[in-house]
């Protein structure tokens, strides 16, 4: 028997603990979300009518199935507040991801062209802020953007504005916060593909007479598409459900879906509607999530 064969079995044993853990604490909870999204609101603790009562036997379960209701989903589909929240989340995520790509690409490109020694240093420098608490980083921006904050002081001192500009509680502040927090997630996958790229290809293109923009657009960019895809998905998916950044930096006139869900859950205590909103959000994100999973698997197989 080859050594490889013997090794298969312990690996399967190794899978048991993580498998059980993920089923218990990742998969099963979604069952509960689904279940509660189909139940009615109640003024009690917990604030919903129990749907399944396993102690009551089979007939009770059948009756419970009959009592399942899609009311919460109908409510979400007909409520402008929710529809706008989903649309706003998607718009914000798309805009922010485009900004991240525009800002992150030149940085990743610059990193990939550094001498090898310096590339490692630059990578550490990009990762370090990611290790620093994102709440702290958002808070740092509040310091800068508030009414008598640093930004307004500098602008006033330079006589660029005559009165303090309102930055906090605007979409501009929110985009600054999102781009700032997610930049490492965009730079790292881009850098990974750009650094692997054969410099000879670019040199060949320019030797054959292509101007720099053509070299970039016809050679470099197409070759970096896997990194672009990974970076875009890695940023887009979590931004759609973002809660903290819009809550602290954006105004309160239009909410993203993460905030709406949070409010419904903690303030209105309507758990069934909050669960339904979460399920709809998950369905909206399913396509990008599956894309991400495929991309991830292909990259692992390439290695």
């Amino acid at each position: 028997m080859s050594a490889r064969r013997i090794f298969a079995r312990p690996a399967r044993i190794a899978a048991i603990a993580p498998y059980v853990w993920m089923v218990l604490f990742f998969l099963v909870p979604f069952g509960f979300v689904l279940k509660i999204s189909l139940s009615q609101t109640a003024i009690a603790q917990p604030p919903y009518e129990p749907v399944f009562d396993l102690t009551a036997g089979w007939t009770a379960i059948r009756a419970a199935f009959a009592a399942l209701s899609l009311d919460n989903f109908k409510l979400i589909a007909s409520d402008d507040l929710y529809v706008f929240a989903y649309l706003r989340s998607l718009t914000v995520a798309m805009t922010a991801t485009a900004l991240l790509l525009l800002i992150g690409y030149p940085i990743a490109y610059g990193m990939a062209r550094l001498p090898k020694r310096w590339q490692a240093v630059a990578m550490v420098l990009v990762i370090v802020p990611f290790w620093t608490s994102f709440l702290i980083r958002i808070y740092a921006w509040i310091n800068i953007l508030q009414h008598d904050g640093l930004l307004n002081r500098i602008l006033l001192a330079l006589h660029l504005v005559s009165q303090p500009v309102v930055w906090l509680s605007t979409d501009t502040a929110m985009y600054i916060g999102i781009v700032y927090s997610y930049l490492p997630f965009m730079i790292l996958p881009l850098y990974a593909t750009l650094a692997k790229m054969e410099p000879a290809l670019e040199e060949a293109a320019s030797d054959l007479g292509a101007p720099p923009w053509q070299v970039f657009w016809l050679v470099t960019f197409p070759l970096s598409l896997p990194g672009v895809g990974a970076g875009v998905l890695l940023c887009f998916i979590p931004i759609v459900g973002e809660f903290v950044i819009p809550d602290l930096l954006a105004g309160s006139d239009s909410l993203m879906i993460g905030q709406t869900l949070w409010l419904e859950f903690f303030t209105n205590k309507d758990w069934p509607v909050a669960s339904s909103a979460a399920i709809v959000l998950l369905v909206v994100l399913l396509l990008p999530l599956l894309l991400y999973e495929r991309l991830q698997r292909r990259q692992l197989e390439e290695r």
């Binding site: 050594a3 090794f7 298969a8 079995r9 690996a11 190794a14 603990a17 993580p18 498998y19 853990w21 993920m22 089923v23 604490f25 990742f26 909870p29 509960f32 979300v33 800002i103 030149p106 940085i107 610059g110 062209r113 550094l114 550490v124 990009v126 802020p129 290790w131 620093t132 608490s133 994102f134 709440l135 702290i136 980083r137 808070y139 740092a140 509040i142 310091n143 800068i144 508030q146 700032y180 730079i187 040199e203 030797d207 070299v215 998905l233 998916i237 979590p238 459900g241 809660f243 903290v244 993460g258 949070w262 758990w271 979460a278 959000l281 998950l282 994100l285 999973e293 698997r297 290695r303």
Partner: protein, 270 residues
């Protein structure tokens, strides 16, 4: 023959601007934490006043202690289980449910935190579990073990498997071969995974808010509720302390990965 220049002025400028964008806000925050003035934006000279305030703030100290305990416990469990998951994924031949398994491991990496938090809370409520230290710890373990699995797996994928097979040919059983050959080689990645899990747990606000109970707030929950009420100089001091702690963690992690590269293997990605 004209060579395409490797590093243009544009490259250097974009790098410099990018790094400035990433670091200036944090630097400003650290400087202002030593500000003597009550007004956050008016400079009143150097002072440790806000650090004193923090160390006399019982609620903040308790929240910090809670955060540290949760981070250490969940990072340790996550490292154990996450490493097992990485081994299973990179060493296991096909087993039933492997696709589901890897899907479950990758999904939490990108899933919006509100969804993960909400679903775990509903589970804990359904199980009638008392919410507090353990529910937060379980929630953080679930999230961070996925990051540990990715870090360790990329390390396992990059080293020479024949070393393991040689050990087994020399009479080691698989478990001993793993413990005496594989484990020392992937140890730096495991250390890096633990560090990552630790900082992620220390940092998390959303999932902790969903899964904690009354009276057991973590530090981010406390900071968040203070920040919502407006900027307080004390927060600058707390943030600087957290940044300092994380800086120490990064130094240890980078030492660990330096150790691994001096063994002739490429460093772990994080």
């Amino acid at each position: 023959m004209r060579k395409a220049s490797r590093l243009s002025r544009f490259n250097i400028a974009s790098l410099a601007l990018g790094l400035a964008f990433l670091y200036l806000p944090i630097l400003i925050l650290v400087i202002y934490s030593f500000n003597a003035s009550r007004l956050v934006t008016v400079w009143g000279g150097w002072s440790l006043r806000w650090y004193h305030e923090f160390f006399n703030d019982r609620a903040m100290i308790e929240a910090s202690w809670m955060s540290l305990r949760v981070a250490v416990t969940s990072a340790t469990i996550a490292t154990l289980i996450g490493t097992l998951a990485a081994v299973a994924l990179s060493r296991g031949e096909r087993f039933r449910g492997r696709t589901l398994f890897s899907g479950m491991l990758y999904a939490p990496l990108v899933m919006p935190e509100v969804i993960s938090g909400l679903s775990l809370l509903l589970l804990f409520v359904a199980l009638n579990a008392e919410r507090g230290f353990w529910t937060v710890t379980i929630a953080h373990t679930t999230l961070t073990m996925c990051f540990v699995a990715v870090v360790v797996q990329s390390r396992l994928g990059s080293f020479d498997r024949s070393l393991e097979e040689a050990a087994m040919d020399l009479g080691c059983d698989p478990v001993r071969a793993f413990l005496s050959v594989t484990l020392p080689l992937i140890a730096p990645a495991i250390v890096a995974g633990w560090m990552l899990a630790f900082t992620l747990s220390l940092d998390d606000l959303v999932i902790a808010s969903f899964t904690t109970g009354p009276g057991s707030a973590t530090l981010p929950i406390r900071i968040y509720s203070e920040v919502r009420l407006g900027v307080k100089p004390e927060i600058n001091a707390i943030c600087t302390l957290v940044i300092g702690l994380i800086a120490v963690v990064i130094v240890i992690a980078s030492l660990a990965s330096k150790l691994s590269s001096s063994q002739g293997e490429s460093a772990a990605p994080l």
